[in-house]
Amino acid sequence: MVAIDSPRTTTTDLRRRIASVPPAYWVLGILLLIIPAFASDFVMFQIMGWTFILGLIALSLMFLGGYGGMVSLAQMAFAGFAGYMVAIFGDSAISGISQGWPWWIVIPLALFLTVIFATAVGWLAVRTEGIYTIMITLAIAAAFFYFTRQNYELFNGFQGFNSVLPPELFGIDWRGPEAFYYLTMFWAVTGFGAVLYVSRAPFGLALQGVRDNPRRMAALGYNVTAHRVAAYAFAAVIAGIGGILLTWQSAQISPGTVGIQSAIDILVIAVIGGLRHPIGAFIGAFIFVLLKTFAVDVLIALGLGGERFQLLIGMGFLIIVFFSPDGLLGLWEKLKASRRRDPLTGGQR
């Protein structure tokens, strides 16, 4: 987590801060660090790497939806846009388009352009409220998908780009299972920490205020529209990092990556986990990746045929949103609350 404090921070202050971190985080942190010691390459690269990446993109949706009350289906488009920018300005097998610039220009540039794109989309989307947002962002995501599929000059149309690889920094192959695991984990933890941190900073608090009561926020002297658009920009950085990592993982980016199905997948992930808390995005991503990887085997074992995967995902999603709008986190909290309740009186504790 980013530590910003007065210069007078003392060691006791630091010790208190460390002590205030819930023990579950310690267990999880240590577990994440030592996973490469016993996990297979497949688990590290495919399962965990993919979880961290999808979690990051879903996290950007959680930030907008959970704190800002704006459920955007365009987050996958932002992620894909960043991936495309890396492919276009960096290196790929499509040498006719890719510029081959060095990574330390390409990555900041890609993120910068993603933020610009998201700001424009956000500016359009926040002109309407509530439920319109989801429809408009869905339409924009679809427009981006069709555009990438049709445009050959810049986006190389249907094929997209392949052989988009991470730079070989410090002589490490960052697509190696262990390196990629730590790379994605680093960004997932950073993104998670940043969102958690900002949620208590003026910007994040104001965003939650806008979510709860935009009219009152305006009456307090806040520019509600500007805050909403800024939230899109902030979320785009997270989605963009996720998109670049996603592009590196599969070494390619194509219209299929930013299709409507993927946009809805991100929504499913964020909602299954729970939009209330940043950790929900990663819980959702982990479940989604597990399902996506192993559901086919389970389905075949049940005699249903592997192609019924969408049905399984859809049913799971439907059940969760039908019974617990706050996702698995909401279910967990309900469970905790009912445990604490006295079985005889029904009162608390």
Binding site: V71, L124, R127, T128, G130, I131, Y132, I134, M135, I136, L138, A139, I140, A142, A143, Y146, F147, Q150, N151, I260, I264, L267, V271, R308, Q310, L311, I313, G314, M315, F317, L318, V321, F322, P325
Partner: protein
């Protein structure tokens, strides 16, 4: 109309000029110079007709969506699934009975019944929670899409219109003049014209029903003020179910039309959901005339786009949406 002209003289003038140019392009015999620039008149007229008739289809889908949203603020993102379901139901009804016309009432009833289930089992339980409605209907559309893929496979289904409707129809539009001085008249598929006429009838009937009947007044009162409607003693839940069933039934009919015009296949549900979204965003949420205008614009944009700039035809419709959102977020005919 006169009110609009006095209030927005510039816009009225622009619209009048565009209409005049359009009329001239439709009825006049094109001079050679024009044909050199933008191609043959036949192509233009075909795009125009295809655009208008496609607009009719979009209107059928989107009017149900906008009606449901307008009255109940229910966001039904499973609307595309209702369309696709209607297409499949219509196909099997027509195949089994041999009567194309029978496909329409069957699709209307079956999909309308499905709509009743949605309203009673889903929407009534989460009134006012639009986010939850959205999520649940997305979930339903995922599940239904896969169930239909399971049941009907990934093939394209084509509903064949009966003999008397297939084949071209002569119109009175001149596309060119032969060297002998004899005018060439345009031919256009009969079925498209008939279906378009039907969708106009549906639209006008809906408008009349909403504006001239007691139940229509009740529904419109409900759009303006939910509490007032309950206060009049109207059995609001029954009205809701009825409107939902009707809107869903329209989507089902649209499915049959779509299956006759084009074809139905997995993925068409999302395509038509998106089309409905764009149409109602452009036209204005909850407005039937808005849906008609939006449908016409989007249908025309798609067809002209595919003729004159084929690469970006799909993007063009979204561009229209973006422009409308930027300048009139409530939609062209929507209320602020």
């Amino acid at each position: 109309m006169r009110l609009f002209a006095t209030r927005h003289p510039v816009w009225a003038a622009i619209i009048a000029v565009v209409a005049a140019i359009l009329l001239w392009m439709i009825f006049a015999v094109w001079p050679d110079g024009l044909e050199d620039v933008i191609g043959r008149k036949k192509v233009f007229l075909n795009a125009l007709f295809n655009g208008i008739t496609l607009g009719g289809l979009y209107f059928l889908v989107a009017s149900g969506f906008t009606l449901i949203f307008g009255l109940m603020r229910n966001v039904n993102l499973a609307h595309g699934s209702l369309y696709l379901l209607g297409g499949y139901v219509g196909y099997f009804a027509a195949e089994a009975t041999g009567y194309w016309l029978l496909a329409f009432p069957v699709a209307f009833v079956v999909v309308g019944f499905f709509g009743i289930l949605l309203q009673v089992l889903v929407f009534r339980r989460m009134e006012g929670e639009d986010l939850r409605q959205t999520l649940v209907t997305i979930g339903i559309s995922i599940v239904v899409a896969d169930l239909m893929l399971w049941g009907f496979g990934g093939d394209f289904y084509n509903i064949t219109p009966p003999q008397w409707l297939s084949g071209p129809m002569d119109t009175f539009f001149v596309t060119a003049v032969k060297s002998s001085g004899e005018p060439v008249f345009m031919k256009y598929p009969m079925v498209r014209i008939v279906i378009f006429a039907a969708s106009v009838v549906v639209g006008v009937a809906m408008w009349l029903a909403l504006n001239k009947t007691r139940i229509g007044m009740m529904i419109r009162a409900g759009v303006d003020d939910r509490d007032m409607l309950s206060a009049t003693g109207a059995r609001i839940q029954i009205v809701f179910v009825g409107v939902f069933a009707f809107g869903a039934g329209l989507a089902g009919i649209a499915g049959v039309v779509g299956g006759t015009f084009q074809s139905i296949a997995p993925g068409e549900d999302i395509r038509f959901l998106l089309a409905s979204l764009v149409v109602v965003i452009v036209g204005g949420m909850g407005s039937i005339p808005g849906a008609a205008l939006g449908a016409l614009l989007i249908g025309l944009a798609e067809q002209f786009g595919s003729v004159y700039f084929p690469t970006y035809a799909v993007v063009l419709t979204f561009l229209i949406m973006v422009v409308v959102l930027a300048f009139r977020p409530q939609g062209l005919l929507g209320r602020a």
